[in-house]
Each structure stands twice: as structure tokens, then as C-alpha cells.
């Protein structure tokens, strides 16, 4: 494929010329990640420049069509872009729920106006999105949600409460499941978009066991949402949400992969690894992690050609998140008492312990492991009554 070789050369050359040296350093903490949005403070001029340059080329969403802010690349081209970025250690120019979750749903369910309007802003990192799914009392059980949008002709008036809204305090807009028909449990929910600065929206961060607050409680008190801000059909928001959850599960599941050059045992070794039984556990883990990374690769290959079972992301999400939890249990054990430090000189703000605690949410957010196993039982194994 000579064309792809030329393409690789061109991409490589562009990256060399345009990626600032500071953006080729490893990401050290969350401040190094560019999340975009109205409230985002760039950490450096280089971070801002890198986003702008990539957005101008469509490289923040390379597989999206050009009219929507993408570069219109096919799967092979995207892979080359990714490989070339890895080669020079370039940081991702933009991380965003808009790209990972809402974007794919809009591409599938949005109107042409919505696509042009929202996708371009997402691609340029101008809107940061949060997700309004869970409610108190309905964690895994999304269809029981209560937040209600009353029909007022050209708009809805939304009242209710969401929980586990990721970074709601930093988000500009929300994509939100709202009940629009109280008589139909499954087909009475719509998928609405609205501005978090709308009157009546209140946000309260939730303090987590990790000491951070990545999630919020979000309250809606007579929030007005114009009718054109619905995605998909009225009362069929569940279809959009399920499609989007699939993407979320793929994303979260990515966390479990093993890096073949950097097995957990090799990491632990750097701090000394004298317990033979801990070493044994690490080796057993590395087998699982390396095998899982082959699964991840296989899944990406299969999905490109439509060979993957549509429920496969649930399996990957389950296995990947459980693996990641185990990884951090073992890293804590390998770190010993030093990893217990929460607040001390030299513990980098207790980062090991906080990360460990953070991973416990992996198997809860985006569908619990139990729900994933239910889905596998039903949709893949076709077990009775599942």
C-alpha cells in the first residue's frame, strides 16, 4: 500500500513540525490533560497551541467527517496517525466525553443541524460535556429514573436530580436522560442536551474516598430546554443512551490493558521485589494483563470489519476493570508502607493510594460488573431468564 506509506511520511513530518516539545513529555498529572471547554485553564501556551493546530487539521477527531471538524480518515489512516503520535510521544491534544461518548451518538442519531453545530465545537474543544444518567435510587437500574421534563409546547421544563455526574462542576453542557412520558417505563425517556449555565441548574461535588471529587450531584429546578435540543426521537432516548454506553464501556475497558514493555512485575522490581510470593502473584497478573491486551487488540481489529459481537464491549469492560483493580491492589502490596502515605513528603500527594482507591469505581461507573455479567448472560450466552 504505497499510498499509506506516503501518508505516514506526511503525517510524521507534520507532527515533527507542529507538536511543541513540551507536548512530547509524558503526562504527569491531570493538569497535563487538555479537557477543553469554557472553564478550562490551559497549563501552558504549548498546550493551547497544540490543541489549536490539531483542531485545524481535524486531528482531535480524525475519523469524523471533515464538515463536522474531523479529518475524514479511514481506520488504517487513524491507526497510522496514532502510531506516529506515539512514535514522538505526542500527548493527545484533547480529551473529552464529547469525543468519546456524545460525538458517536450524535453521528448516529443527530440531525444535520445538530451535527454541524455540536460536533464542530466538540472537535475544537469549545464545549466540555458531562453525562446525566444515574439518579439517587437508580444506580444500575437506569430505566427507573425520575427526572421529569414537562412538555410546554416548544420546550420542556425539567425537574429532578442526577448523581455521579462526572466533572459536572467543570462542564459546559450536559447530555441528560429525562423522563418525558410517565406512562411508559422503557419508552418514556428522552435524550436531551442543555447548557449547565441554564437557570435552575445547581451542582454539588461529591467527595470520594480517594479524596478527590470527580463526580457531582446535579439538581434541576425548572430548567428550560428547547425542543430542538433532543437527540433521536421523543421517548426513545434509551436507544441513544444504550448506544452511547457501549462506547463508554469500550473507553473504560481500555484501562486494563497490559503494556508489554512494562509489566507490573517489572514496575515493582524497580522498588525491590524480595517476596517470592508477591512476585508469583505479579507474574500471574502479568499473564492475565498481557493476554487481555491481546484481547483488546483483537477486538479493535474485529470491530473494524464488523466481526465483533455487539455485546462484546460489556465483556471487555468487565474484564478490563476487574483487571485494573487487581493491578492496583498488587501495586499497593509492592509499594508496601510507602504506598500507604496519603500526606507526606515524597509521596506525591498520596498518589499511589489515591489512584488505588480511584480504580474501585472502575467496576461501578458505566455499568457495574454485575450488570455486565447479566448482559453477557443474556445477550451473548442466551441463558434463560437472564
Amino acid at each position: 500500500m504505497p499510498n499509506l506509506d506516503v501518508f505516514r511520511f506526511e503525517i510524521g513530518a507534520w507532527l515533527e513540525q507542529n507538536c511543541p516539545p513540551e507536548m512530547r513529555e509524558p503526562v504527569r498529572d491531570d493538569g497535563d490533560v487538555c479537557w477543553g471547554g469554557r472553564k478550562f485553564k490551559f497549563k501552558s501556551e504549548a498546550q493551547k497551541l497544540w490543541l489549536e493546530r490539531c483542531a485545524a487539521k481535524g486531528f482531535t477527531v480524525p475519523d469524523w467527517p471533515k464538515p463536522y471538524g474531523g479529518a475524514g480518515m479511514n481506520a488504517s489512516e487513524v491507526k497510522i496517525l496514532r502510531e506516529e503520535m506515539q512514535r514522538i510521544n505526542a500527548r493527545p491534544p484533547l480529551s473529552s466525553f464529547g469525543i468519546w461518548m456524545l460525538g458517536p451518538a450524535l453521528l448516529k442519531f443527530g440531525t444535520e443541524e445538530q451535527k454541524l453545530y455540536y460536533l464542530n465545537q466538540i472537535a475544537r474543544g469549545e464545549i466540555r460535556w458531562c453525562q446525566g444518567y444515574s439518579e439517587p435510587g437508580s444506580g444500575s437500574d437506569l430505566v427507573s429514573l425520575q427526572t421529569y421534563g414537562e412538555d410546554k409546547g416548544d420546550h420542556w421544563v425539567v425537574n429532578g436530580q442526577k448523581i455521579w455526574t462526572s466533572y459536572a462542576d467543570q462542564a459546559d453542557w450536559i447530555f441528560c436522560l429525562v423522563r418525558t412520558d410517565k406512562t411508559n417505563k422503557y419508552q418514556g425517556i428522552s435524550f436531551l442536551l442543555f447548557d449547565m449555565d441554564s437557570p435552575g441548574v445547581t451542582i454539588k461535588p461529591i467527595l470520594l474516598i480517594s479524596g478527590n471529587s470527580p463526580f457531582c450531584e446535579t439538581f434541576f429546578d425548572n430548567v428550560t430546554v428547547p425542543k430542538h435540543q433532543i437527540v433521536g426521537e421523543l421517548n426513545r432516548g434509551w436507544d441513544v443512551a444504550k448506544y452511547l454506553l457501549g462506547h463508554e464501556r469500550e473507553m473504560i475497558s481500555g484501562a486494563g490493558g497490559g503494556d508489554r514493555l512494562n509489566t507490573i512485575g517489572a514496575v515493582a522490581k524497580r522498588n525491590g521485589l524480595e517476596d517470592p510470593l508477591l512476585r508469583a502473584e505479579l507474574a500471574m497478573f502479568d499473564v492475565d494483563a498481557l493476554a487481555f491486551s491481546a484481547l483488546g487488540e483483537k477486538f479493535l481489529d474485529e470491530i473494524k470489519v464488523g466481526k465483533a459481537h455487539p455485546a462484546q464491549p460489556n465483556m471487555i469492560k468487565y474484564a478490563g476493570t476487574e483487571l485494573n483493580k487487581r493491578r492496583h491492589e498488587l501495586l499497593m502490596a509492592a509499594g508496601g508502607s510507602a504506598a500507604l502515605e496519603w500526606d507526606s513528603e515524597g509521596s506525591n500527594g498520596g498518589s499511589k493510594a489515591r489512584t488505588w482507591l480511584r480504580t474501585k469505581a472502575n467496576s461501578i461507573e458505566g455499568g457495574t460488573s454485575e450488570v455486565m455479567l447479566n448482559v453477557i448472560s443474556k445477550r451473548i450466552l442466551d441463558l434463560p431468564g437472564a
Binding site: 437500574d141 470520594l208 508496601g336 508502607s337 510507602a338 500507604l340 513528603e345
Partner: protein, 384 residues
């Protein structure tokens, strides 16, 4: 000796359970001192109450004014401490340091035990020297100097070191790092010149320090037990700390399990109580079984230690202490992980207590050797 509590022990358990459930409760102690960012990390008033109830004297001989009880009784108190996540220097002072000091001469015991018994003093243990527990190798040196010794080295994970009046330091007076012989225990007052401590808050909000011993001069009266022959005493102190930590972990696991089964009976999802879901039932039942096994291993080890307390060391007791610490390490970790997962979202919030159990479990798992360390010892005791 039957593997259940005697009537006296059952009475002590009732007292401890009631006291800790009221005075030592999570909101009253752990959260209170944590949110205050307290320097001690525990309550001095509560510590006095421990003394008033006699808890501080459980492992102190009656001749020295204590209760002369054993590890079963200390474990009863520790289990309630674990269940309520009550921060206190009980394990390090009243279990480990008391075991060490109890082996000292009359003068040393007279110097330290009254303060301990009264709940006025706090003692800390300076044993570990790296991130993992490895007391077979002690590099901190104590060299003869003047009328005593000069100590040099560094110690890690010294729990409540910052609040302690005196630190029990394991140091090498002869031989090389890995030698069995040549170990001596020292009682080093907190304000000794050359002793410095870096304060740390741990994941469970307890406090610890890194200790530097930079030519600390102590006199002969600081020696606990015999010079060069402290390994046996150190092992007794370690056994006390290990089975104590295991007993506390049983309480932690039990507390987490109780919270979780209660939640299973309250929380509804998909129109059912989540405790009705058979997959969760089986996981809970499995966890229950594991907890019972862990609990049995702890009381077995406690009784074996008590049977040999002042006599010759018993390898069977050593073996069962490691079995108990390893087994509890494994099971308590399962209990808190299942606890958080079954609580799901709210389990991740600081507002709910289940996450606090997970944090405390992690610190206890590491304290005095984790399951990998102790399972390795089981293999070695068994000759493989």
C-alpha cells in the same frame, strides 16, 4: 483449651463492644480527628478511658499492676477497635511495646509501665527499615559508646511515632544485617538528641513517621532485655503485633461485612432488594465462610501464644501466627472489596463508612507483614 471464649472473656468482649461502639465510634473518633487534622490522629481522652477500663494493662503482669491476661483478651479489644475503626495507640503501645517492656528489668518496667497503665504515655515501635516488613534483616546499628550505645540508622512505618514518649528501637549491636544474633532492643526517649521524625498521614488517616537516628546516645539503662540476644524478644514482640493486627483486621472485616449485608437487605434495584440476587448471595455466603475460617485461625494462634507466653518459643505457635496473619490479610481484603463493590456508587463516597474500612484494612494488611510475607514463612516453617 477450647477454641471459644471463656465466660470471663465473653464478659470482656461485651464491655469492649459496648464501650467501643459508643465512645470509639467512627463519627466520634476516626472522622472527628481526621477532619480536625489532629497531630496525634487519636483522642487522648479516649486513651485515658482505655486505661480506666484496664485495657492498657491486659498484657502487663499483675505484679506490675496490670491484668496479666493474654493475647486472646488483647484480641477481644482489638476486634472491637477494628469494628469501629477506632484510632488509638493500643496495638503499638499496649500490645507490642508492653510485651517488650515487660521483658525489661525492674528499673525499666518501673520507668515506663505506670505511664502506660494510666493512659498517660504512648510508645511506638521502630522496627521496619524499608517499605516492606523484613525484620530478619536489621541494619540500624548501636555501637558501644561511653556508658551506653550510640544508635545510627533509619526506621520506617513507625506508627504514632510522633505522639510517642518513647520509641522501642530494634538495632544491631553485633554481626551483619541478616544475622539472627546481634540484635538488641532499646527504649529511646522521644526527645533524644539526634532523633528526628518526618510526620506522615497514612491512607487510613492514622499517623506515622519516618525516623532518623543520627548518632543517638543512650545509656545502658535503655537496653530492654539482653544485649546481642534480643532476637527471641523481638520475635515475641512481633508475634504480639502480628496476631494483634490480625485480630483488629477480623474486626475490620466483620464491620465491613455487617454494613454490607445490612445494605443488601435495604437497597433496591430493578424492583428487588439487591440481597435477593443469587449472585450476590453466593458471594456473601462465600465471604462469610472465609471470615469464619479467618476468625478460627486467629483464636487458635492467640491460644497457642498464650500457652507459651512466658515459656519457650513454640514453632507451632509461630506457624499459626503467620497462618492467621496471612489468612486474615486475604479475607479482610476480600471483605472490604466486596463491601465497596456491593455498595456501588455510594461506596465510593467519603460520606459512607465502607470506604474507611477499605483504607484501614490496607494499612493493617501491611503492618507487621502482609499475606505474601507470612505465607512465605508458612512455607519455610513447613520445610519447603
Amino acid at each position: 483449651m477450647a477454641l471459644y471464649h471463656t465466660e470471663d472473656q465473653a464478659m470482656l468482649a461485651d464491655t469492649a463492644r459496648q464501650f467501643m461502639g459508643e465512645e470509639g465510634a467512627i463519627a466520634k473518633q476516626l472522622r472527628h480527628w481526621r477532619d480536625k487534622q489532629s497531630m496525634d490522629g487519636f483522642g487522648r481522652v479516649l486513651w485515658k478511658q482505655f486505661a480506666e477500663l484496664g485495657f492498657t494493662g491486659i498484657l502487663v503482669s499483675e505484679a506490675d499492676g496490670g491484668l496479666g491476661m493474654g493475647h486472646v483478651e488483647a484480641g477481644i479489644v482489638l476486634e472491637e477497635i477494628g469494628r469501629n475503626l477506632t484510632p488509638s495507640p493500643f496495638l503499638t503501645s499496649s500490645v507490642m511495646a508492653a510485651t517488650a517492656i515487660g521483658a525489661g528489668n525492674d528499673e525499666l518496667r518501673g520507668r515506663y509501665l505506670p505511664g502506660l497503665l494510666a493512659g498517660d504515655s504512648v510508645f511506638a515501635m521502630a522496627i521496619d527499615e524499608g517499605p516492606k516488613h523484613r525484620p530478619e534483616r536489621i541494619a540500624t546499628r548501636a555501637e558501644r559508646a561511653g556508658n551506653g550505645f550510640r544508635l545510627a540508622g533509619s526506621k520506617t512505618f513507625v506508627v504514632y511515632g510522633g505522639s510517642a514518649d518513647m520509641l522501642v528501637v530494634a538495632a544491631r549491636t553485633a554481626g551483619a544485617d541478616g544475622d539472627q544474633d546481634g540484635i538488641t532492643l532499646f527504649a529511646v526517649p522521644k526527645d533524644s538528641a539526634g532523633l528526628s521524625q518526618d510526620p506522615i498521614r497514612l491512607v487510613d488517616s492514622s499517623k506515622a513517621t519516618h525516623v532518623k537516628l543520627d548518632g543517638v546516645q543512650v545509656y545502658d539503662d535503655a537496653v530492654i532485655g539482653e544485649v546481642d540476644a534480643g532476637r527471641a524478644l523481638l520475635n515475641r514482640v512481633l508475634n504480639a503485633g502480628r496476631i494483634g493486627a490480625a485480630a483488629e483486621s477480623v474486626g475490620v472485616a466483620d464491620g465491613a461485612f455487617d454494613m454490607t449485608t445490612t445494605y443488601l437487605k435495604q437497597r433496591k434495584q430493578f424492583g428487588k432488594l439487591i440481597g435477593e440476587f443469587q449472585a450476590l448471595q453466593h458471594r456473601a455466603a462465600h465471604l462469610y465462610s472465609e471470615l469464619e475460617i479467618a476468625r478460627a485461625s486467629v483464636i487458635k494462634a492467640q491460644q497457642l501464644l498464650d500457652a507459651t507466653a512466658c515459656g519457650k518459643p513454640s514453632q507451632y505457635a509461630d506457624l499459626m501466627v503467620s497462618v492467621a496473619k496471612a489468612k486474615v490479610g486475604k479475607v479482610a481484603s476480600l471483605a472490604v472489596r466486596e463491601g465497596v463493590q456491593m455498595h456501588a456508587g455510594i461506596g465510593m463516597t467519603d460520606e459512607y463508612d465502607i470506604g474507611l474500612y477499605m483504607k484501614r484494612d490496607r494499612a493493617l494488611a501491611e503492618f507487621m507483614g502482609d499475606m505474601y510475607y507470612h505465607a512465605e514463612r508458612v512455607a519455610q516453617f513447613s520445610g519447603y
